[in-house]
Every structure is written in C-alpha cells, then in structure tokens.
C-alpha cells in the first residue's frame, strides 16, 4: 500500500512537471519539447537554422543571424564533367553588367563595364542548337521553366498578360511578339541582369536554363520555331542565330 502510494505520488509529480514544462514551451517560436535535443539540433550551421553551438556549448547571441542569402559573387556552379558545353557554361558569364545597374538593379559586387554590353550581346549565340532530336525535350523543359519563372508576369502565351498583370498588381509587361527584333544574346542578357522594371534573374536560373528559356520564348514570336517536318527539316527558317539544323 505504502509503495503504491509512493509510486502514485511519483507519477503525479512527473505529470505535473510535464504539464508545467508544456506550458513553459507555449512560446509560439519554439516547436516544443524534444526527447534528445543533442540529436535534434545540429551543431553545424544548417540551412536557415543556426543553433549557435560552439564546441558543445550554446551561445544564444550567435543564433541564426543570417538567412536567405544569394550565392557569393563569382562563385561557379558545378554541373558535372563530361559534356564540354556544360563545362563551358560553368564559367562566369562573359558579358558584364553596366555600371549603372548597381543603382537601378541592385547588382552591387558584380564586375562592371563602362560599355553598353547589352548592345554588344547582340552577337552572342545560343550554344544549344535546336535539332529535330532535342527540340521536343528542350521545349518541354522550357515550358516547365517558363511556368515557374516567367509566366506570372509574361503570361502563358507570352502576351504580357500574366496573372500579375490581370490582377492589377502592375502594368507594362511587353509581349514577346512585339520584341521580335531582339537577338538571342540580348534576351539572355536581359534575363541574366534584368532590364527596365525586370530584375536580374541570375540567382534564380542557371545559364543552361536561361538558354533553354531563350529557345522557348522564341516560340511566341514564331509559332513554327523549333518545329520540324517529317524529314527532320526545320519548318521555319528562323533569321536568328540559333537556327535549326538537321541531324542524322
């Protein structure tokens, strides 16, 4: 009897302690009690979570002070080895931003040029040539990217009537069809560093993805772009540099 009583008292005490502890963690920014915090909380700095731990001790003043950072400038992505084209694309973009882009597009810390590199970009060629073999895959990937990255402003049909514009958030997204004079290199430059009201998208898409998008948006200017007939010949001779060739 005595033993059961003691046991009961222990259980009661434990429950009360748990409830008290439970009420202690009613802080909305805490995710609650953990069984073994040393297994739950990484000593290393994880993505968006820094527990401020140094050699087994926690220092609240070092707790997450930074989050959501762009990659350091001039860092190079690694796409793997093998394909020489991809290896080439790992290198930094050869065209520099204009010095005025610092104030207009916030591109501090980039390498700058005093020249109008946008005008020079007119001669840049799309390294991914469209062929009857790869065009379907290229446009499939392009559509996926376009839906995620561009569609909310530029619209599903590239007419500048995306949901952002239709909801009245802002005006003035041009239609691709009106800008058919742009060269591939200039479209790339605009996506990479931004143009006018459009921000720089180099932190969102890789260079390979931008070139894929360049192919994709050309469709809005010429519906036959990248389409092939039965013999594998291009349906339309596009005047731009990324002209389609037949492969065997």
């Amino acid at each position: 009897m005595r033993r059961t009583l003691i046991f009961g008292t222990y259980i009661t005490a434990l429950t009360i302690t748990l409830f008290v502890l439970g009420s202690c963690v009613s802080d909305p920014d805490s995710s609650g009690l953990e069984y073994m915090p040393d297994m739950y909380r990484a000593p290393s700095i994880e993505v968006y979570v820094d527990n401020g731990e140094i050699r087994g001790k926690r220092f609240p003043k070092y707790k997450t002070a930074l989050s959501a950072l762009t990659p350091p400038n001039n860092s190079i992505p690694y796409y793997g080895k093998g394909d020489s084209m991809l290896v080439k694309l790992m290198l930094p973009y050869a065209r520099k931003a204009n010095i005025l882009f610092r104030e207009s597009h916030g591109l501090y810390g980039f390498n700058f040029s005093m020249f109008d590199e946008y005008a020079l970009a007119i001669n840049d060629k799309n390294p991914f040539l469209l062929t009857n073999k790869n065009s379907e895959e290229m446009f499939l990937k392009g559509k996926e990217l376009y839906t995620a990255m561009c569609q909310h402003c530029h619209g599903e049909k590239g007419d500048g009537m995306g949901p952002m514009v239709m909801s009245g958030a802002y005006l003035g997204v041009p239609a691709y069809a009106e800008r058919s004079a742009l060269s591939d290199g200039q479209i790339f430059y605009s996506i990479y560093y931004g143009k006018g009201m459009m921000g720089a998208h180099n932190s969102l898409v890789t260079k390979k993805e931008i070139w894929t998008l360049v192919h994709y948006v050309r469709q809005f200017q010429n519906p036959d772009y990248g389409k092939f007939d039965k013999n594998g010949n291009p349906k339309s001779l596009v005047k731009m540099d990324s002209t389609v060739t037949k492969t065997k």
């Binding site: 009961g8 259980i11 009661t12 434990l14 429950t15 748990l18 439970g22 909305p28 920014d29 995710s31 609650g32 009690l33 953990e34 069984y35 297994m39 739950y40 909380r41 990484a42 993505v47 968006y48 979570v49 002070a65 930074l66 989050s67 959501a68 950072l69 762009t70 005025l100 882009f101 610092r102 104030e103 207009s104 597009h105 916030g106 501090y108 839906t147 995620a148 990255m149 569609q151 909310h152 402003c153 995306g162 949901p163 952002m164 909801s167 958030a169 802002y170 005006l171 003035g172 997204v173 041009p174 006018g196 009201m197 459009m198 921000g199 720089a200 998208h201 932190s203 969102l204 898409v205």
Partner: protein, 448 residues
C-alpha cells in the same frame, strides 16, 4: 443618264467628305486617337501614371515641362529624345536625362503629335489610386489580431489568479474551522490531529470507494502521461512568428506566382529555399503598396534590399538580412531532400504543405487532417512531419512504372523486370510498385 449618275455619286462623295472633315475639325484630333491604348502599348513598359518606375511618372508630366517653360517641347522629347538633347535647346531634357541616366528612353518617331498629346491627356485624366486608398484605411486587421491574442493571454492569467484565490479561501476556512473547534473545546482527544491523520482515518472509513477512486485516478494519470509523451516533438500546427507578414494567398493565389519562383532551389537542392530579397524586389520594386495597410511590411523589404523608394528609386547597396523562422524543421538525424521528392518523385508541394494559395496567415505545419482534405493528396493518418507519416507515404506512393519519364526509377524497374520477374509480379499485386518496395523503408535511406 450615265453622266448624271456619276455626277450624283461625285456630289454625295463631296458632301460626305465635307461632313466628315467638319466633324474632324469640330473635335480635337487628340480625342480620336486612343490615348489609353497607346499608353499601354508604347509607354507602360517603363512608365506608370502615378509612380516612378524605370522612367518618371507621366501624370502631369506636361505640367512639369510647362513649369520649366518648355511645354511645347515635350512632344519632341517623346518622339525623339536623343535629337532634342543633341539640339541643346532644352534644359528640361538634360535634367530628366540626368535624373534617369540608368535608362535611355526609346525614340518613338512613328507617333504623331496628336497621338502624343492624346497619351498625355489620358494619363492626366487618371485618378491617383494611392490618394484614394489613403482615405479611411487604418491598420484594421493588425489591431484585431492583437486583441484576440491579448484576450487569450488574459484568460489564462485570470484562471491562475482565480484558482489561487479559491485555494487560499478553502485553506483559510479550514484553518478557521479548526481554530474555532479548538477554542470551543469540542474535540478533546483529537485536538492535535493533523490534516494527514484526519485524512487517513477518513480514507480507512471509506476504504472501498476510496481505493477504487485512487485506482481510477492513477490509471487516468498514466494514460494522460503516455498521451503527453506521444505529443512530444509532434509539431502539427507549429506556427512561429515571422519578421514580415507574408500572405501566401495573395502571392500564389491572386497573383498566380508559381511556388518554384520564390522557392527556386526546390528542384536543385535539399532545401526548398527561402527567397532572397532580390527575388522579392523583382516585383516589389514596382509594388510599394503605398496607402495600403501592408505598406509597412513592404518597407521592411526595401530596408533589407537597400532600396531607396524616393524619386527616382535607387539601390543604395546597404543591405541587411531578413531572418525568417524555419517552420518545417526536421531533427538533425533525419535526412530529407526536396529535389528528390519534387523532381524524381514528382510530388506536388501541397501533399506536405497544404494549399498555400488559400493560406492568409503565417506558415504553419498543416495538420494531417487538413492535408487529407486536399484533392489529389495521398491520404495519411499519422501526424504531419513524424516518422510514421513519412513511412506511411513511402508505403502508399506509387512510383513511375518504367514509362521512360523518370531516369532513376525506370532503371530500377528495368533491373527488376529483367532479373527477378517473380518479385516484380509480387510487387505489382496491389497494382503499384511503392517507394517502400524499392527500398524506401530502409533505415539508411533517411538516417545516416
């Protein structure tokens, strides 16, 4: 007959022309040109009626030129600003160019004078939306949420205070009773009896019901205890505060922005990624929410991005980080990779995060009951973000059936088909090859 016919036709033609030209002279030509349409087609890419963008706002731009004494030159500026600047006859042209030297205005030599005027007429007729919105809008929503929070907190304290008062009253009444008994000399033999011994005699007197009561109490305490233990580290409904009030329903719902635009590393990395502030600025450079209740929140983005929204807006280069609170945080001993699930597994965001297009509060861990309500989701029973939940889904999810769309799983399917047909058939008994059958229940898949 023939001649007179021709003459008649000629006459009517002349009359028509006369009437037409009369009307043309009667109305100012600028009204015939569609100013609004022209504005949207030619100007709106860089100019807005009431806000400075790439170029200055066009509302009363003509007045500003007139104030500079060059009201007639604005048309020339619009048509070919480089020529006007080169001619050197306009000081205003130089001023505007210096102010916005980041962007050179395109020449519109194809526009007629009256078309330019019609655009300016149309812009001047547009009412200012910011001024209209500023009237009579306070911080209504914020105020409401604060009061409810306060009420909840107040309730809690009220209960604690009330219970303390009651306990004190009960104890003091008991004490008074005892004092009275002692002073009245009622209980001669029991006057030293403590509460405990009094309780013991009482408990012995009613030992059967008392024993049963204690048993029930102890059992219920044990059950509650275990239930409590099962809730430890279950983070359903976890909703930490965030530095900026971010309405997902407005961004992903009304404005139709794809999840992957802001959380763009989801297809490439372990982490889905919180957008960096330059991604916010891709739209918010234009959308300042001026005069709206949430303008203060957008100001926080500007402070973080180092954007000075005065005229003309510019980046100062002085940035500071926004520190968001992580919501879906898994323990350190679990490995979870977003790109594996989204790209290879083809899982939709809403399977785990719920329908964000309707989420108008801070992000929280959606309870599994909410997730099950969403169409197309695999229905699960265990609480969100627990191991049981992961395991359940790995057992239920059908992975691609070697249809050539999925490199990694197609290879596994091919090997299964070619090497172990009986096992493959066993797997296909329920009509699918689940993740668990391809090793999704191996401990080392997630714990290593």
């Amino acid at each position: 007959m023939k001649i007179s016919n021709i003459q008649r036709v000629k006459r009517t033609k002349i009359r028509l022309i006369a009437i037409f030209s009369f009307f043309v002279f009667l109305f100012p030509t600028s009204l015939l040109a569609d100013g609004g349409g022209l504005f949207k087609a030619k100007c709106a890419t860089c100019h807005q009626p009431h806000k400075n963008g790439t170029g200055p706002k066009l509302f009363e731009a003509r007045k500003r030129w007139e104030a500079a004494g060059e009201g007639d030159l604005i048309v020339e500026w619009v048509k070919n600003n480089a020529k006007l600047r080169a001619s050197g006859k306009s000081a205003r042209a130089k001023e505007v160019f210096e102010q916005y030297k980041g962007s050179v205005m395109t020449a519109f030599t194809d526009l007629k004078d009256e078309e330019v005027i019609s655009i300016l007429d149309w812009v001047d007729a547009q009412p200012d939306p910011a001024a209209a919105a500023a009237v009579g809008t306070g911080n209504v929503t914020d105020g409401a949420s604060e009061t409810t929070e306060e009420e909840e907190g107040g309730n809690m304290w009220m209960w604690i205070i009330l219970s303390t008062i009651f306990i004190t009253i009960i104890l003091s009444v008991g004490g008074v009773r005892r004092q009275l008994k002692i002073s009245a000399g009622e209980s001669s033999t029991q006057d030293d009896q403590s509460y405990l011994s009094e309780f013991k005699t009482w408990a012995w007197k009613y030992r059967l019901p008392f024993g049963l009561g204690v048993l029930v109490l102890v059992l219920s305490i044990i059950v509650t205890l275990f239930q409590g233990l099962y809730r430890i580290n279950v983070v359903e409904n976890y909703q930490p505060s965030q530095p900026i009030v971010f309405p997902h329903d407005r961004h992903a719902g009304v404005n139709g922005i794809d999840c992957k635009y802001c959380h763009n590393s989801v297809t490439k990395s372990k982490s889905a990624g919180i957008p960096t502030v330059n991604v916010c600025m891709n739209c918010h450079k234009q959308i300042s929410g001026e005069g709206k209740p949430f303008a203060g929140e957008i100001k926080k983005i500007y402070a973080a991005a180092g954007w000075d929204p005065s005229v003309p807006g510019r980046y100062t280069g002085k940035t500071k980080p926004i520190v968001w609170n992580k919501v879906h945080a898994l323990p350190d001993h679990v490995y979870f990779n977003h790109s594996q699930h989204v790209v290879v597994g083809g899982i939709d965001c809403k399977q785990c995060h719920g329908d964000m297009t309707k989420m108008n509060e801070a992000v929280k861990v959606q309870p599994v009951a909410e997730l099950n309500k969403i169409e197309g989701n695999i229905k699960l029973t265990k609480p969100t973000l627990t191991m049981g939940w992961c395991i359940e889904c790995h057992g239920a999810k059908n992975v691609s059936l070697g249809d050539g769309k999925n490199g990694y799983y197609d290879e596994i399917h091919r090997r299964l088909r070619d090497n172990d047909k009986s096992l493959y058939k066993k797997y296909l008994k329920d009509g699918k090859v689940s993740v668990s059958e391809l090793g999704g229940w191996e401990c080392a898949k997630c714990h290593y």
